[in-house]
């Protein structure tokens, strides 16, 4: 009898070990009707292969090196403000419990964008982008080994054109 009680207590205690992760947040909300969910696996990233350069604001940027090291991409888009608030609360809880740190909070034209990163030195293991705008909420999680210099160099062409501003 004592052994059974100990085993049950052990099983209940292990619940605290399963802290929320980006994947668990994706699993929680992806099945809901008012949510658009996208998942891209490491296998799909390998299939993408050599990517053509992509244009951002008229400047060319090459994502190839970054994409090859990605382990997963999770995207959730909500039009429901209730789910959006719930999601924000889940993300903040995950950030508090994990080793994420807030990199950036930007407010522009009524849109709030938060970027959180889980890093190991100069390598970012996981990046979360949370956008909140009048009832709409977008959640993006990028898992992989991304160097911060790659993130800074996303706007490489802008830096070349405007060196004095750096």
């Amino acid at each position: 009898m004592k052994k059974i009680i100990v085993i049950i207590a052990a099983l209940l205690l292990t619940d605290c070990l399963f802290a929320q992760s980006a994947r668990s947040i994706y699993d929680k909300y992806s099945g809901m009707n008012e949510v658009e969910a996208v998942y891209i696996s490491p296998a799909m990233f390998r299939m993408i292969g050599k990517l053509p350069s992509t244009e951002i604001d008229g400047n060319d940027v090459d994502f190839t090196n970054m994409v090859r090291n990605l382990r997963g991409l999770y995207v959730l888009e909500f039009d429901n403000s209730t789910f959006g608030r719930q999601l924000r609360s889940d993300v903040e809880s995950m950030v508090r419990k994990g080793r994420y740190e807030k990199l950036l909070e930007a407010k522009e034209d009524g849109e709030i964008t938060l970027i959180y990163a889980l890093s190991d030195g100069e390598i970012c293991k996981s990046l979360i982008i949370l956008s909140l705008e009048s009832g709409e909420t977008d959640f993006v999680c990028i898992d992989g080994d991304i160097s911060f210099s790659s993130i800074r160099n996303l706007n490489k062409q802008k830096k070349i054109n405007e060196p004095d501003k750096l």
Binding site: V6, A9, V38, A106, I142
Partner: protein
């Protein structure tokens, strides 16, 4: 004088003959020496036995804790293995080109936000440089 190894190799009959030989003198304190050795061995055995008993009681006392820790470790390991195996989501896109378009959109958003943040940082730095210049001029005079 024979060594111990030689004595061990000697047969029982030879040993009996030697023991019956009255010419070989028995050391005076042999009997008491042997009794002292035997009692010392018995005491040593009792002490070792006590340590063993104490070790066993320690294990018995903390058996519940050890079994709880083992149960937790086992349950955690099984749970983690189950969660990772069951919860792998399915790819949204079958076509790599559509997946690439989504990745492009996401990185575009990331780039735009990082660029906005960097721009604000540069703006702030430029604004801060003015008070620094004023302070430097004031300290020069």
């Amino acid at each position: 004088m024979k060594s111990i190894r030689e004595i061990e190799k000697t047969s029982i009959e030879t040993l009996e003959k030697v023991s019956c030989d009255a010419k070989i003198a028995v050391p005076e304190n042999l009997d008491s020496g042997i009794r002292d050795l035997v009692s010392a061995l018995e005491k040593t055995d009792r002490l070792l036995g006590k340590d063993e008993r104490e070790k066993k009681s320690f294990i018995r006392k903390y058996r519940l804790v050890f079994s709880a820790a083992a149960s937790i470790a086992l349950a955690a390991g099984l749970g983690i293995a189950y969660m990772t195996s069951v919860n792998t989501p399915k790819d949204t896109y079958d076509d790599p080109r559509l997946a690439y378009a989504e990745v492009e959109r996401v990185f575009g958003k990331l780039s735009k936000t990082v660029d906005y943040g960097t721009g604000k940082l540069i703006e702030t730095r430029n604004k801060l440089s003015r008070p620094v210049e004023i302070v430097e001029k004031a300290t020069e005079h």
